[in-house]
């Protein structure tokens, strides 16, 4: 819709410009600045061009972190999206159960992210954590469970925490999408003798395309950029096993003061996220689009 050009409206937009400039554009420019220079101290910087980029792209530890990151995001999408859809399908459509389930689902979303990390640390502790004590008392494992004892345990705890935290978002989005489907489609499917699977595959899933696009994009971006929860839970350990990209870059930048390389890869990081988001978006929106027939 073409809105009229009302000059006064631009003044209302100005504060947004200023805020975005300060909080995003200028810092971004600073990062670009760092990525092409080697800074020894205030006023003491040397232009190095693409040297940091080359160094980062060949850094083995970075490749490992990147690999872990893709694995993590991949697992997140593979588990959270179907699980969210299933939960949405199971949620009641009428009555007091609706409000009850909506509120219950929303609770994990309301907790501050590093608190979530802390909750799960305590939950999995072998001495006082419900899960830790419980699984160790079953005596099935060689090495007693402790979220930092082995990489496998760290990953399991991390995935469980991530799924517990964010699946409700997917479920809520899918629920909204499901509620928008007119009753007539279900009635027609009944009359056509469709099985529940057919109803899901041919009616519910296609009609949820819009909300699923949002869910996938959001979960992709958030999980690929994840920082607070794993840092709070494992600090990146044991060893490097849960050092994801953000954690690695932050260690580089603030731990070792290697601002240059960190800045360089941050830019590449940003571009990777954009690229994949674009791919997902195009794929989801164009799947199932037919040509117009007059």
């Amino acid at each position: 819709m073409d809105k009229w050009a009302d000059n006064r409206a631009w003044f209302l937009v100005l504060p947004v410009f200023v805020v975005v400039a300060f909080s995003a554009i200028i810092p971004l420019m600073t990062v670009v600045n760092y990525s092409i220079q080697d800074i020894f101290g205030p006023g003491n910087a040397v232009f190095v061009g693409t040297e940091w980029f080359k160094e980062m792209l060949t850094d083995k530890r970075l490749h490992d972190a990147l690999g872990r990151q893709f694995l993590f995001s991949g697992l997140v999408l593979l588990i959270e999206i179907p699980l969210g859809i299933l939960i949405a399908l199971a949620m009641p459509k009428k009555g007091w159960g609706v409000s009850a389930s909506l509120v219950t689902l929303a609770i994990p979303l309301l907790i501050p992210w590093n608190v979530i990390g802390t909750i799960w640390i305590i939950f999995t502790r072998p001495d006082i954590g419900l899960f830790g004590v419980g699984i160790n008392s079953l005596d099935l494992l060689e090495v007693p469970f402790d979220h930092t004892a082995r990489p496998a345990y760290a990953w399991i705890t991390l995935m469980a925490m991530e799924i517990w935290h964010w699946t409700p978002l997917v479920a809520l989005l899918c629920y909204a999408g499901l509620r928008a489907i007119p009753e007539a489609y279900y009635q027609a499917a009944k009359i056509d003798g469709a099985s529940s699977w057919a109803v899901f595959f041919y009616i519910q899933l296609p009609k949820m395309r819009g909300v699923l696009t949002i869910a996938v994009l959001l979960r992709w971006m958030d999980s690929f950029l994840i920082y607070a929860e794993p840092f709070a839970l494992t600090g990146g350990g044991p060893g490097n096993s849960t050092t994801f990209l953000s954690i690695y870059l932050v260690k580089l930048a603030t731990g070792q003061f290697d601002l240059g390389p960190a800045a360089a890869f941050s830019l590449i990081y940003f571009l990777i996220v954009l690229l994949f988001s674009f791919i997902f978006y195009q794929a989801l929106l164009n799947v199932g689009k037919g040509e117009k027939v007059s």
């Binding site: 009944k190 009359i191 056509d192 057919a198 199932g288 037919g290 040509e291």
Partner: protein, 361 residues
Amino acid sequence: MAQIQLDEIAHSYLADPRSADDYALKRIHNVWDDGGAYALLGPSGCGKTTLLNIISGLLTPSKGRVLYDGQDVTARPPENRNIAQVFQFPVLYDTMSVFDNLAFPLKNRKYDREAIVQRVKEVAEILDLTPFLNKKASGLTADAKQKISLGRGLVRSDVAAILFDEPLTVIDPHLKWHLRRKLKEVHDQLKLTLIYVTHDQVEALTFAEKVLVMYEGEIVQMGTPEELFESPQHKFVGYFIGSPGMNFLPCRLEGSNARVGAAAIPLDPETAARGAAARGTLEIGIRPMHLKVHGTAVEGGVQVDVGGVEDQGNFKILTLKLDGFTLKSRIPEGEPIPESQAWLKFPPRRTKLFADERLVG
């Protein structure tokens, strides 16, 4: 094909209905013959969609039974009842092609591939959809989509009845002609029982052999379009059918005349006799097209004032005032229109008498 019988059906959407007002359907007791084309006609909220859903099995009635060919199917879900339903807006599986859409009901019932292909091709031919079979269903126009919805019902050769819930709502007026003709052709060719729900009298009367007029949860009259038009049993039928509807004037009986104010309107002697025996508020009813309008005084004519004229192309609608009441008359194209005063003649055969809203004679 099946004969459908509704045995003392009543339905309420409330869990604990107490009075008659709590019932969406008050009492439906009816038989629909095999192969007939029926229309359920009534205003919004009269219960026609509720009744349709009870027939199809999408809704279980609070009371009463539904029988197909004598068998009680009240507890059976829609997929076991051999019916098909076409909804107000096209309901399609938009990820599938037209072919797959039409084949879907047969696939679910495990027909073999060859039988499916043949049947789908036959139905596509009947509905003029053959050129579109391989296209994606979502790209077609609204009327083509409704034809696909209809087609999904026709592919099943064992279908007992096809139910239509205001199917032409989203169709452009000039395409409605085409689709109505198609529905009639399908009915003539395949001799299926068709039940059509609508609030549009033109659709109902042109489509159906028998029309059931519903009002506030009850069937007020069931009959052929002609019967409903000429002998409405209830004032509502007279009002609802016909554009404009029947004119009603409160009156008193005097011998074989009905008196409206100072005017004396002659009635058929038999009608008058029945009227004398009847109790309740009396009204005469006459359809606008039966009123004879004269520009000059005539013997036996009732003098009225002319209100306004509306040109409808094929005919004109004249608004007339008698004793504070408004009457409408329908005048064919080309006939002269009186300016300010007119004299009306009420043909006795066409003048109906109603007592307490029910037809007396």
